[in-house]
């Protein structure tokens, strides 16, 4: 099946480096991090985290915070795009990615169960205790009746959702589709990554010789994808031109050192877009800053991209927002295409400098037309997305 580029006609996001493209560009251009040692999880971790200001009102549980954020994002996008006026409810789909949205509510039920000295958690679970609660709630608020699902593929969750939206539009299942993902920090995730010893206790520096791990963050974004119609006046932020997924089939948390799954997901995305590697002008890497990821991703990129293609990880600025990360990085890519700028971490001592081409802050060798964004998750869930400035 041949695929057509899919326009992104609406977006709404929240990240530790801003919730508007202007703020994000300003922070990236001045290399201002959204990470801080002052955060609400000081009792669990000393490392910096990237906290965000979600769109909320009143005192809410973290799951309600994401529900509020989703409601805000859909409302904001709908206001600008008039999506609900232009399409019937069954023509509008929704794919949402998350890895931690329901964690807090689950932990709360576990606490209640422990307080009752019981062991059967199922008796304490309600419809709220699953990730899909958010999509179901949004379907009650908005006229969205097309194909929909909640996907949870760890750190590539939002990328998986964006990919499914791309397929749904291309195959004619829906004419418009909300896609994206959000995650919110919680004690389980923070203590878990601490146990794996992959936090950097200082600011993370992906692809630097000095790198020691990642900085966790939260946030994400929601996008409206629509079927392309030539000559329409709707604003298009960028075009999703290709998507590709692959499984590492190697280890639950470590990446294949040969970068097999990463290479495969990038090849699949290129094939989907009908591109060769030389059609890609910049790679926004998954680049967590861990030894395992950066070595594997560098190897994969070096294998596939024979001509020097600038690569950087903007997680140095916004941190790793887990399931919401791909959505934030898609906004970074949109900002890069719109502003014709590249951003990279604050360091000079690049590792793998003789095999991959590290992007230089603000410097472009040729105009940015097409960008690849990688997202890799636990369980070997690898996703690559290709974003273009123009439809052709």
């Amino acid at each position: 099946m041949g695929y057509q580029p899919v326009p992104i006609t609406g977006l709404s996001f929240v990240s530790s480096i801003g919730s508007t493209i202007d703020d994000m560009v300003k922070n990236l251009s001045t290399q201002k991090r959204g990470l801080s040692f002052q955060h609400r999880f000081k009792e669990f971790i000393k490392a910096p985290l990237g906290e965000v200001q979600f769109q909320t009102s009143g005192i809410l549980t973290p799951q309600d915070v994401i529900a509020n954020q989703l409601h805000f994002s859909i409302t904001e996008i709908a206001k600008k795009t008039k999506v609900f006026e232009r399409y019937k409810p069954e023509e509008i789909g929704f794919f949402f990615g998350t890895s931690t949205a329901e964690t807090y509510s689950l932990l709360r039920q576990i606490e209640l169960m422990f307080a009752d000295k019981k062991t059967c958690l199922e008796n304490y679970l309600s419809p709220k205790n699953n990730h899909g609660f958010l999509v179901e709630t949004m379907k009650e608020f908005f006229p969205i009746k097309g194909i929909n699902a909640t996907l949870t593929t760890a750190c590539s969750s939002a990328a998986s959702a964006i990919a499914e939206g791309f397929y749904a539009i291309n195959s004619g299942l829906v004419k418009a589709c909300f896609v994206g993902g959000f995650d919110i920090l919680n004690p389980l995730t923070i203590c878990g990554f601490n146990a794996l010893q992959i936090h950097d206790n200082q600011y993370c520096v992906p692809f630097s010789i000095q790198r020691k791990g990642m900085n966790l963050s939260e946030g994400g974004g929601l996008f409206l994808l629509e079927k392309y119609k030539a000559g329409t006046n709707n604003q298009t932020h960028a075009f999703v031109k290709g998507v590709g997924g692959a499984s590492d089939a190697f280890h639950m948390i470590n990446s294949n050192p040969e970068g097999f799954g990463a290479t495969l997901s990038m090849i699949n995305a290129l094939n989907c877009a009908g591109f060769l590697p030389e059609n890609i002008d910049y790679i926004n890497a998954h680049g967590t800053g861990t030894q395992s990821n950066d070595a594997s991703e560098s190897t994969a990129v070096a294998k596939l991209f024979k001509t020097p293609t600038p690569i950087s990880s903007t997680k140095a600025f916004h941190g790793h927002a887990l399931g919401g990360s791909a959505a934030i990085e898609l906004v970074v890519c949109i900002a890069a295409l719109q502003n014709q700028k590249l951003w990279c971490g604050i360091f000079e001592d690049h590792e793998y400098g003789n095999t991959i081409c590290h992007a230089k802050q603000g410097l472009l060798k040729k105009p940015l037309q097409n960008i690849m964004s990688n997202s890799f998750g636990f369980g070997g869930n690898n996703m690559s997305l290709i974003l273009g400035r123009t439809w052709k």
Partner: protein, 185 residues
């Protein structure tokens, strides 16, 4: 419009003491949810080698894994450690707490490099995964999907895990698959 057929289905329930088809080191560390998922896939491979070899392997069939609540027993174990300030919490348990761990293990054990998606929408999880699989096959986006649904529950102090597997395919894309078609979807 292409056609989508159910070509294989099976259900399985396991309790502690279950004898597994393929015993290996990874299995010993797995949660009940992961074990039942791995076991039902191994049973499918054993019972339907034609479909496994020609559909799953040759055509790089994606796995859609559906779970209502995911790894709730593991989440319980980890949160108990956090409440008791038993730090660091178990790194193995943490890596086993993500919803897509079971499908990750299936891909690792069988060397499957096709992408695997995990759906978690409570009671709608399996329905969502199956509906998307059928839609993608009918629209020609995919030729086949392997849908696995699994969940675990604690009853009378024992953790019981149950799973079901459905392989959905377009028989026009595989020679010889027509005779395996159970139902048009």
């Amino acid at each position: 419009m292409e056609k989508a057929y159910l070509v294989y289905k099976q259900s399985l329930e396991i309790l502690p003491g279950h004898e597994f088809l393929e015993n290996n080191q990874l299995l010993r560390r797995m949660t009940p949810l992961q074990k039942v998922s791995v076991e039902i896939f191994a049973l499918f491979k054993k019972n339907a080698d034609f479909i496994y070899n020609n559909v799953i392997q040759k055509l790089k069939t994606p796995i859609y894994f559906a779970t209502k609540y995911g790894e709730i027993q593991t989440a319980m174990q980890l949160y108990s450690m956090i409440l008791n300030k038993d730090f660091p919490i178990s790194p193995i348990a943490f890596q086993h707490s993500v919803h897509n761990c079971a499908s990750g293990y299936i891909s690792i054990l069988h060397g499957l490099h096709a992408s695997h998606l995990t759906f978690s929408s409570g009671d709608s999880s399996f329905k969502n995964a199956t509906e998307l699989a059928i839609s993608k096959i009918k629209s020609g986006t995919l030729s086949s999907v392997c849908v696995i649904s699994a969940d675990e529950s604690r009853q009378l102090g024992e953790v019981k895990a149950s799973a079901k597997i459905c392989v959905i395919a377009n028989p026009n894309h595989f020679e010889g698959l027509n005779s395996y078609c159970l139902k048009e979807l």
